[in-house]
Symmetry: C2
Subunit: 174 residues, 2 copies
């Protein structure tokens, strides 16, 4: 699996905050209940988001968390990077997230043998980075509002090519 549950929980947490009115703190407990996630674990997750400056907090009664910036100005690569650390397709493949590869992936300094896999991992890296950078938190918030507003529609009913086409069509800019 590419992303751990930290990313999953963290993104859901951010979306939940995005759904609330800004500047008004939401308690972790409320989020944990709404999303049915373990509170104690969420604490660790939100700590990362705070360290990255994506959320702010107030302690004490009626305290909680809120987005540090409007959701439109938060791109998902910031969020995911805060939660998962550097996103690299391979061990030694760290970049500064601007498409520049810091590691040449050489295994033997004497032979000029560069790694044959470099080209591939760079493309994968680029594909991921682009999809994360072009998605904003605001889009996810919108998406979640539309989803929850819609009536319950049973999944996997009428399996086939027709039902397969509809969700893909709703997802451009991938």
């Amino acid at each position: 699996m590419i992303f751990s549950s930290k990313a999953e929980y963290g993104v859901r947490l951010m979306v939940e905050l995005g759904r609330q009115s800004p500047e008004q703190p939401t308690s972790l407990k409320a989020i944990a209940e709404a999303e049915r996630l373990p509170l104690a674990y969420l604490e660790q997750v939100v700590a990362r988001l705070k360290r990255a400056g994506l959320v702010m907090s107030a302690r004490g009664a009626h305290g909680g968390y809120w987005l540090a910036r409007p959701a439109e100005q938060i791109t998902m690569d910031e969020v995911v990077q805060a939660l998962e650390g550097a996103i690299a397709p391979m061990e030694c493949f760290l970049t500064d997230m601007t498409e520049r590869v810091l590691c040449s992936h050489t295994h033997e300094p004497d032979t000029g043998q560069h790694c044959a896999t470099k080209l591939l991992w760079m493309r994968v890296q680029g594909g991921i980075a682009r999809s994360l950078q072009t998605t904003t938190l605001a889009e996810l918030v919108d998406f979640s509002r539309r989803e929850s507003a819609a009536p319950v529609r049973p999944v996997a009913a009428s399996a086939g090519a027709a039902s397969a086409a509809s969700p893909a069509a709703a997802v451009p800019a991938g």
Copy 2:
């Protein structure tokens, strides 16, 4: 890390086979020595490639492995999928590799609450799938030939916007 070392080793193995003349078996031992990888572990790796029908083998003395198809007809998503299994950004996010999501990611069947993260993971998934599908083994073989032929050029010399652009320019179709 997105991909494990199985993918790394497996891709390198495939590239190595692609460099050899086709239909002539190359022993794992030779590959292990050329790539400085543990032979016993490579056995497990190549077994996956064989099960997926990407390589063929001959036992006994002068046996070895070779590509089941010309490198131009092997896309890297086949290779990576054989090595890593299904590639999904998130646990419950299995697709049939044609952009169709099999899991709706619903956490509570009664509420119509679909997961807010679905949109994001679908985009990421699409970005990865596209970069893997549009890269052929032949390209990597070419790349590796150019790399090893070229003199050793130090990486990250003259850091800046200019150097950041150059590697990206060499990697289209990501």
